[in-house]
Amino acid sequence: MVNLPNALSGETKIVFTGPMGAGKTTAICAVSDSKTLSTEVPMSDGALRAKTTTTVGFDYGECRLDEAHTLRLFGTPGQERFRFMWDILAQGAFGLVVLIDNTQPDPIGDLQRYLEAFAPHIPRQRTVVGIGRMDEAPSPSIDDYCQRLGSIDPLIPIIEVDVRRPEDVRLLLSVLVSLVEVQHE
């Protein structure tokens, strides 16, 4: 059963998830009106590339649509130990954006884990995937992702993006909004 959010109360929520360093915080900042709320703390087990901090609560950003409606953007912590936060944050979301870092050892495995974790809360028909850092690591290719995910859902949009560019974040949201609209036509 599709759980539509209560739009009458003005609540419209999108969740960004993915492994640490995939760009969730960056993506939310790109489309938020003002400074986003962050719960980043220093990493105790060593830095990941240039990243020395990690989100342990959630990222939060807002985009005011009009007097009555605000788009709320939530970013989850990336590590598996914060899975309880994924369950909490996914409640009531109308869409999910999964961001993947293609330079990691098993990015397709990462994607499968996040899709499975969020499937009980947000339907796959409202999920968009952005693959980042493909210029540094072209493999696996988008074709590889589509082939591997064919058994789960061949029709999830999987798009190469660089979330440091706002237009790429808007691309992900354009696809997500189109999915939601078409789903009910």
Partner: protein
């Protein structure tokens, strides 16, 4: 003749053992304490009076999250970073204190039943946090 040479534990392990001792003492000496745990600010376990690994790991992660969220709330309303927060329910109390230190410091989380006396509990928790911070600074030195 064989001589047994005591093996000195690695500094990190020694620190964890010191923390475990401090937590055990807290649990022993403070009425109502059900469990006491120390986690890193990013949710990794350091020491705990709990015995089940999954429970220890989960509590460490939640402690890290809730401490960060409490800080975010406090900063959002203009009250700066909190030193501690208290959750009270019909079953008891949970106290969470920040332990200053490197790499964001740590979080001490103490769970009590209804027998705990809040003032004594906070006093003893504070002493434990100071002890942990002191051990941590010796480790860093």
């Amino acid at each position: 003749m064989n001589k047994t040479v005591p093996v000195k534990p690695a500094p990190r392990v020694a620190f964890a053992l010191q923390c475990a001792d401090l937590l055990a003492q807290l649990r022993r000496d403070t009425a109502g304490v059900v469990s006491a745990s120390i986690a890193t600010a990013d949710g990794l376990p350091v020491a705990s009076t709990l015995t089940e690994d999954p429970e220890i790991d989960k509590l460490a992660a939640i402690s890290g999250s809730i401490s960060a969220l409490a800080s975010a709330l406090s900063r959002q309303v203009g009250q700066g970073d909190p030193d501690r927060f208290i959750l009270e329910s019909a079953s008891g109390t949970i106290v969470s204190l920040k332990v200053p230190g490197q790499q964001g410091g740590m979080v001490l989380t103490v769970v009590t039943d209804r027998n705990a006396v809040l003032g004594k509990l906070l006093w003893d928790c504070r002493a434990t946090a100071v002890g942990v911070a002191s051990s941590a600074s010796q480790l860093a030195a």
